[in-house]
Symmetry: C2
Subunit: 347 residues, 2 copies
DNA sequence: CTGAAAGCGCTTACAG
DNA sequence: CTGAAAGCGCTTACAG
C-alpha cells in the first residue's frame, strides 16, 4: 500500500500507447462492445494479459452509472435460514459478475432503515431484503411508503412472506404447501394430533403456518392445537425450550410438536429430552427451514426445507430481470416449493 | 430504476449553483476539509439536507484512490466461528465508514485465489482473510509468494494461526492460553485424563491444540491421549460423530473428550448419547470456539471462547492502522486471550 | 476564505 | 473499423 505501488497502477492509456492505438479502441477490445479488427484485438488482449490489467471499476461506474454490486440485507447472519439463502444467491450473483454486500439489520428497525440508506448512497444496482419488518402482519403507513420509495429507486426483491403488499417483487417459500407436505406425512405415519407453537404471531411466517395447519388439519381429520399469541415467544431456541418446559407441566396435548422453525423445534426437543422423554418414542418434533446442514451441525429434526438452491437462484434471477429492464417492473411473486427432510425426531 | 429517476440524481454542482458558490466550496463544506466560512457552510449543509444529497462514491474513489471498502474472506460462512468474528468486525468497520464485503472461499484453494484477485480488481482498501490455506502447517513456495504479493499491494490482516510466517499482520486466539485455561479447570474438577481429537493435523488450529495439551498435561500431571493424523478427520460435526463411534467400540481411554472445535465436540457428544452414555456423568465433552450462542442454538458444550468482541475489534484496528500508514507496515501479531464458558457437558 | 482548472480512468456517441 | 473529444462527479493543489 505504499504510494509508489499504488501509483504504478496501469491504465487503458498505457495499453493504448504500447499497442499504438487509441484508448477508445482498447476499451472496445476489452469490453467486446463495438468493432475492433481481429489483429488489434489480439494485440491488445495480449498486452492486457501481460500487465495483468483490469479496468478501474470506479471510472467505469462513474461513466456507466452501474456498480455491479448488490446489497443483501438479513436480520441475523447467524441464522442458517438467511445464511443459506445468501450462500446460494451469492453463487449466482458472482457468476454474473456481481459482488454482493451482506448486511445485518439485527432485526432492528432503525438499523434496517440506515442500511437501506447506505445502499442508496453506495448506488448499488439492486437490493435483496430478507425478513425483518417486512414480515410483519400489521404495517405502518410510513414503513410501506419507505419500502415503496426504495423499490421505485433501486431494483428490489423481498424475501418476506406476503411482500407483494409492498408492490415489489417477492420470493418466498410456499408455507401452505409445506404444511400440507408435513401433515400428510405425519398422518401417514399414524400421528393424529399436532401442536403448533413458537414465533411471534405478529409475523406472517409464524401466523400463516399455524393458520394453514389448522385448516389442513380439518381436511385431514387430524387434531390441531395452536398456541396463539404467547407473549415473549420468538423464532429462537430459547422460545422453544422455555415454551416446551411449560407445556410439559401438564399432560401432553399432542403426539407431535411443531415449531414455526427448526430453532424452536430443537429447543423444544432439548427440553423434552431433559425431562426424560424419549424422542420419537414418547414425543415427536418437527420444524421448518432445515437449518441443520448434515456435515456442519445436524439438528436431527424432521423439517420442511425451502430448497435453498432453487430459492437463492430464483431470488437472483428475479432481481437480475428487474435490473435489466429500464422501465419500472411489474411486481411479481414467486413461491418456492418446499420439500420434506425426514430425520429421527419423528417415527 | 427507470432512466428519469436515475438521471435526476443531484450533484455537487446543483448544490453549488443554488448556494451561489463554487463546487470546490461545497466539496470542502461537506468533507470538512479546508476552510469554509461559517455562513456558507450552514447554507450549504442545509441544502444538502434539503435534497438528501450524498456525494457520488465512485467519483470520490476515482479521485482519491480510496474505496472505503474492505474485503473479508472466510472459508465457510455457515461456521459460527467465522460468522462471529465477521459480525464483530463489521460493527467497527461500518462505524468507521467502511463497507465490508463478505466472501466465501468454501475452503477451496482456487476459489480463494480468485477472490483475492477480484478484491484486487475492486481496489478494496483492505483485506481480512480468515483460516483456509493460511492455517496449513506446510506451505508451497508459490502460495507464500502469492500472499506476500497481495499484502505488499493492499493492507492485509490474516486471522490464521501463525500467519506471521507470511510477513503479514496477524490476529488469532492464543491457543496455548486456551488449553491452559481448559485443562486447569478440568483438573480442578477432578478430571485426570483427556483425549484430544478431530481436525486435520496438517492445519495449525488442530495441530497446536493437541501439542499444547500434550505438553501442558505433563506439567499438570494429567494423562493426555492425542489422536494424531486420523485420515478423513476434519473440523466438522461428522468427524466428531464418526470418530466417537469408533472410539466407543473399545473401553474409553479418558474421562474427558476434547474436540479441536465445538462442531467436533457436539458430534462426539451426540454419538455418546446415542450409545446410551450419560453426559457428563459417564463421559465429558469440551471444545473450542464457543459456537453455541445461547438464544440461537446452544451446544451445551463447555468451550474455550475466543472473545469475539475483542477479536473482531482487534482485527479492525490492526487493519485500520495499516490502511492509515503510507509506508509498508511492520508485521505485527496480536494474540486474543480466550475465556472459558462452562456448560453442562462437564461436571 | 474562495474559485478556476486540472485530472482521476474510463465509455460512447460522433464523425470519419 | 478507428480516433478525438466530451463528460461521468468529484477533490485538491494553486493562486489569489
Amino acid at each position: 500500500m505504499d504510494e509508489q505501488t499504488r501509483s504504478k497502477s496501469i491504465t487503458i492509456y498505457d495499453i493504448a500507447k504500447e499497442a499504438g492505438v487509441s484508448s477508445a479502441t482498447v476499451s472496445r477490445a476489452i469490453s467486446g462492445k463495438g468493432y475492433v479488427s481481429e489483429t488489434k484485438k489480439i494485440q491488445i488482449l495480449d498486452l492486457v494479459e501481460k500487465y495483468n490489467f483490469s479496468p478501474n471499476t470506479f471510472a467505469q461506474n462513474l461513466k456507466t452509472g452501474f456498480t455491479k454490486t448488490i446489497g443483501f440485507i438479513v436480520p441475523h447472519i447467524g441464522n442458517m435460514y438467511f445464511a443459506s439463502v445468501y450462500y446460494e444467491f451469492e453463487k449466482w450473483a458472482s457468476s454474473h459478475g456481481y459482488m454482493t454486500i451482506l448486511l445485518n439489520s439485527k432485526g432492528d428497525y432503525e438499523v434496517e432503515s440506515k442500511l437501506l440508506y447506505s445502499l442508496k448512497e453506495k448506488r448499488v444496482d439492486g437490493i435483496v431484503m430478507m425478513g425483518g419488518r417486512m414480515d410483519a402482519v400489521e404495517l405502518s403507513e410510513e414503513y410501506i411508503r419507505e419500502i415503496r420509495e426504495i423499490k421505485d429507486l433501486i431494483p428490489f426483491v423481498s424475501c418476506a412472506t406476503m411482500a407483494e403488499r409492498f408492490g415489489c417483487a417477492a420470493v418466498y417459500t410456499d408455507d401452505g404447501k409445506g404444511v400440507e407436505l408435513l401433515m400428510t406425512h405425519l398422518k401417514s405415519k399414524g400421528y393424529n394430533s399436532i401442536y403448533m407453537f413458537g414465533g411471534g404471531d405478529e409475523f406472517y411466517p409464524a401466523y400463516l403456518k399455524k393458520k394453514y395447519a389448522y385448516e389442513f388439519g380439518k381436511k385431514l381429520g387430524m387434531k390441531v392445537t395452536v398456541n396463539w399469541l404467547t407473549p415473549n415467544m420468538n423464532f429462537d431456541y430459547r422460545s422453544g425450550y422455555i415454551g416446551m418446559k411449560m407445556l410439559l407441566e401438564k399432560p401432553l396435548e399432542a403426539e407431535v410438536f411443531c415449531g414455526v422453525n427448526d430453532y424452536v423445534a430443537v429447543g423444544a426437543r432439548d427440553a423434552a429430552l431433559e425431562a426424560g422423554l424419549r424422542v420419537p418414542e414418547d414425543i415427536a418434533f418437527v420444524g421448518f427451514d432445515d437449518i441443520g446442514e448434515e456435515t456442519v451441525l445436524p439438528t436431527h429434526i424432521t423439517s420442511v426445507s425451502p430448497c435453498y438452491d432453487v430459492f437463492g437462484k430464483k431470488v437472483f434471477t428475479t432481481l437480475h430481470k428487474i435490473m435489466q429492464d429500464k422501465k419500472p417492473h411489474d411486481m411479481k411473486t414467486s413461491l418456492i416449493k418446499p420439500e420434506l427432510k425426514l430425520r429421527k425426531s419423528t417415527k
